[in-house]
């Protein structure tokens, strides 16, 4: 098997995640799709690391995971406080600054 297949899989997962961000309305599901995109990128990094035979790609994937963890914590806190004030987790309802 050609290891490039891992890259195709990563591209497919990234595309599915991007489509999910555009299609879904629930803020939590949108956030999950963002996580899916991050994971797809990590898979590409790991596959590249193997193809080129050095560990730098894995380091970048590791940092991506750390940043994703921090991002999830803050993002979910925002969603919870938004839900408290608006009683809805829909991204359509958060239009307070709209004219």
């Amino acid at each position: 098997m050609n290891p490039v297949n891992y890259l195709y899989l990563a591209a497919l997962l990234f595309t599915i995640g991007a489509a999910g961000v555009l299609i879904r309305r629930n803020a939590i599901v949108v956030f999950m799709c963002v996580e899916l995109m991050l994971n797809a990128c990590n898979l590409a990094f790991v596959a590249f690391s193997r193809m080129h035979g050095n560990l730098d790609g894995q380091i970048i994937a590791f940092f991506t995971m750390v940043v994703a963890a921090a991002e999830v914590v803050v993002g979910l806190a925002i969603i919870v406080s938004l839900f408290r004030s608006r009683h809805s987790a829909s991204v359509d309802d958060a239009s307070l600054m709209k004219l």
């Binding site: 290891p3 999950m32 919870v80």
Partner: protein, 281 residues
């Protein structure tokens, strides 16, 4: 053996790729297509476990384990907690704010995917060195990563530490709620209750002994459900089950059965009804 496994793709890996790759794509599709957020979260967790197996297959042993511990263990559980806080049944609104936005978005996604795939297809990715030598140079995958993190990438590593602390503080600040008014004392609460509308306890939910769950509104004497019997939180979420229709239908069916059993009497009553209607005419 590790060095060999990390430098060539075997038939076993190909089989693993095609089987688990299918599972990963199905999980990702289910994540964006499932109506309830809980189902989406579980499908995403499945996809992440498959990705962890792929990391292991690619020779990234440390990342594979970290993926399971951090992503499926911590991040997805955090998602599930928030789904529970926000309300499991908070389903997506199906009303479209922008007309045709979903189809346009799906089209954009498809086009983007084709573009990305074509890009990978055109790129010359002929090098394939494998991780065997890189892993062996430092004495193992974890040792190699540690060497890089604490020498070449040490500044980035420090920055991620600062980022994590900031994120923790930020989450605490965002979800903390300041109490703006004084808490009521027991005396005030009792006075409020005596002067309010409901001195006795609120009526209990449930219908007879058949449907006594808390989300079922009790029936008033005329058969209409009383909202007052259901907990305020459930009322706010709109999670009241109405069984009054079912109860009335059951009653009607019971009456019909008894009429059928006592056929003659029913006939006589029908006759009396007919007489009455004729008189009315």
């Amino acid at each position: 053996m590790n060095a060999l496994a990390a430098s060539a793709t075997s038939t076993g890996e190909a089989v693993q790729f095609w089987v688990l790759g299918t599972v990963a794509v199905i999980g990702a599709l289910c994540t964006i297509l499932m109506k309830k957020a809980v189902h989406s979260a579980l499908c995403l967790a499945g996809t992440m476990i498959v990705l962890a197996v792929f990391y292991l297959a690619n020779g990234a042993y440390f990342l594979g384990v970290v993926q399971i511990v951090v992503y499926t263990g911590a991040i997805m559980m955090l998602f599930l907690f928030v789904v529970m806080l926000v309300g499991v049944t908070a389903a997506d609104s199906l009303k479209e704010t922008l007309k045709g936005q979903r189809w346009l978005a799906a089209g954009c996604g498809l086009g983007f995917g084709i573009l990305l795939m074509a890009g990978i297809g055109q790129a010359s990715l002929s090098t394939f060195n494998g991780l065997g030598r890189a892993n062996a140079a430092a004495g193992g995958n974890v040792e190699g990563l540690a060497e890089l993190i604490f020498t070449k990438y040490v500044f980035a590593f420090e920055l991620t530490g600062a980022l994590l602390i900031t994120a923790t503080v930020g989450a605490m600040v965002l979800t903390h709620r300041e109490r703006t008014e004084r808490a009521k004392t027991q005396r005030e609460l009792s006075q409020e209750r005596v002067r309010g509308k409901h001195l006795p306890p609120l009526p209990a939910p449930g219908v007879y002994a058949r449907h006594n769950a808390v989300d079922i509104a009790g029936l008033l004497p005329d058969g209409t459900p009383s909202e007052l019997t259901v907990n305020k939180t459930l009322r706010g979420r709109g999670q009241i089950r109405d069984v009054s229709g079912g109860a009335m239908a059951d009653l009607k069916a019971l009456e019909q059965r008894s009429e059928e059993r006592l056929g003659r009497e029913a006939g006589r009553e029908n006759g009396r009804d007919q007489d009455a209607s004729e008189v009315a005419k």
